[in-house]
């Protein structure tokens, strides 16, 4: 899956949007992963990961941290969100020090991610570069909606639901933050950046949290 790679929207907004991942490799290091997964979660929480989760349980916007931790199995996929480069640096330093041997991936704007790697003292091995969207692009939703729906790369967030949330915020029935959490709950992996989403909703609707 490349579900964090192809996010869209304003570049400055994307610069506040990073995803972290722990990956096990089938047949190599995919047994008894729980202890290592917990180390990743501890490192992410220590530096303030705004959202994280396990696709097999769900995100912390919807489930308690303890519940997600308890349910970790070898089929789990642990990943989450950072909103600034400093968090990425601190996270990578901690994980490097732990020397867990699992694959670590950071997705984001390269002009932010690569300097973060350097500062943390890790050496990029490979990169999956996003070359954007090809084909019948005229069939896509508008750019604002896409900037939100692409934060769940599995596309569990229906475009009409984004419009609905926008309207609820416009009517004053939801704050941008509350609306963004409702959207985040549709992304089972926990890689949806609800902080960036709230910013987008706020700008689009002109509504701020009272």
């Amino acid at each position: 899956m490349t579900h964090s790679l192809h996010r869209s929207g304003d570049i400055e907004s994307q610069k506040k949007d990073f995803n972290w991942f722990m990956y096990q490799t089938k047949g190599v290091n995919d047994k008894n992963i729980k202890a290592k997964a917990l180390e990743f979660i501890a490192a992410a929480e220590a530096v303030g990961s705004e959202n994280w989760g396990d696709v097999k349980t769900g995100p912390i916007t919807q489930y308690r941290s303890e519940e997600i931790r308890e349910k970790i199995t070898d089929k789990s996929r642990i990943r989450g969100v950072f909103t600034n480069k400093e968090q990425v640096v601190a996270f990578l330093k901690r994980i490097k020090e732990k020397d867990l041997g699992m694959s670590v991936v950071i997705t984001g704007v390269l002009s932010e991610v690569l300097p973060a790697c350097k500062e943390a003292g890790v050496t990029p091995h490979s990169i999956n570069y996003s070359l954007g969207v090809w084909g019948k692009k005229d069939r896509l939703p508008d750019d604002i909606t896409l900037s939100i729906t692409t934060m769940c790369g599995h596309h569990m967030i229906p475009p009409k639901f984004v419009k609905y949330i926008m309207k609820q915020v416009q009517k004053g029935k939801l704050t941008p933050e509350a609306g963004s959490v409702k959207l985040a709950n549709f992304c089972y992996c926990g890689i949806f950046n609800q902080v960036r989403c709230a910013d987008i909703i706020q700008k689009e609707t002109g509504r701020e949290t009272p």
Partner: protein, 242 residues
């Protein structure tokens, strides 16, 4: 698959807001899921969106329906690759697996993304275009789509699967760096022939600064340099030897 129990449905149309691919219609009285448009993502089921609890699961009737569901629902594990969702490893574990080596390019084409979905007949067009341009398509133990191919060297899929619509599926393979321009030109041609979109990722080994000069071929093709990337930071063990 999912269906709407017509006796329970009140025609409130709330469910339409939650369908990822606009597969729920309304006949003026009741809502119904169009089986030809539904991708079996199960969002309507998992999120319990119907106040009348009218959306109900129905047993998936054949292999292709099961494939459709596993590819469209990230909670599911693919049976062969063992990976959740569309079940491919791409750059994620390249530091451990060494799948993409120096001098090679991993080609990762997310068909139907973002959000339009893809009929497998269109995935076949792209797979065949890639194979013809020099991409060695990934085998079934690495990527799910290969399980539907009659010939992995051509990318041809079994005819029976063509009319199944998925939320997304990945056409995945590798080419040599010197063939990258040819592959990209083939993708530029085939993008005109499909009735959906795809998101394109290129996987490359990089130097200590996160660079690979092979990406420079984009300039000659009028393709903007990428600003986003998924960076494997090289902390996995064992490290690839090449």
């Amino acid at each position: 698959m999912a269906m709407i129990n017509q006796e329970k449905c009140t025609g409130c149309k709330i469910c339409q807001t939650y369908c990822t691919v606009d597969a729920i219609g309304f006949d003026g009285d009741k809502c119904a899921i169009d089986p030809n448009l539904c991708v079996e993502c199960y969002v309507c089921l998992r999120q319990k969106v119907c106040p009348q609890d009218a959306i109900e699961p129905v047993e998936l009737s054949n292999f292709y329906k099961e494939f459709q569901h596993v590819m469209s629902d990230p909670v599911e594990n693919h049976g062969v690759t063992g990976v959740t969702g569309r079940g491919t490893e791409e750059v994620k574990t390249n530091d451990v697996s060494g799948r993409v080596k120096r001098g090679e390019v991993g080609v990762c084409i997310d068909m139907g993304r973002p959000g339009l979905g893809v009929y497998l007949r269109d995935a076949e067009k792209v797979a065949m275009a890639c194979a013809k341009a020099g991409v060695k398509l990934a085998p079934a133990e690495h990527t799910p789509l290969a399980a539907l191919m009659t010939d992995i060297s051509t990318g041809k899929l079994v005819d029976e699967c063509h009319d199944y619509r998925l939320l997304s599926v990945i056409v995945e393979g590798q080419c040599r760096e010197e063939d990258l321009s040819k592959v990209l030109m083939a993708l530029k041609a085939v993008e005109q022939e499909i009735d959906t979109v795809f998101s394109l990722g290129l996987i490359l080994r990089v130097d200590e600064n996160g660079m690979n000069p092979a990406i420079g071929c984009l300039d000659g093709l009028g393709i903007p340099r990428p600003h986003r990337g998924k960076v494997n930071v090289g902390l996995g063990k064992p490290l690839s030897l090449k």
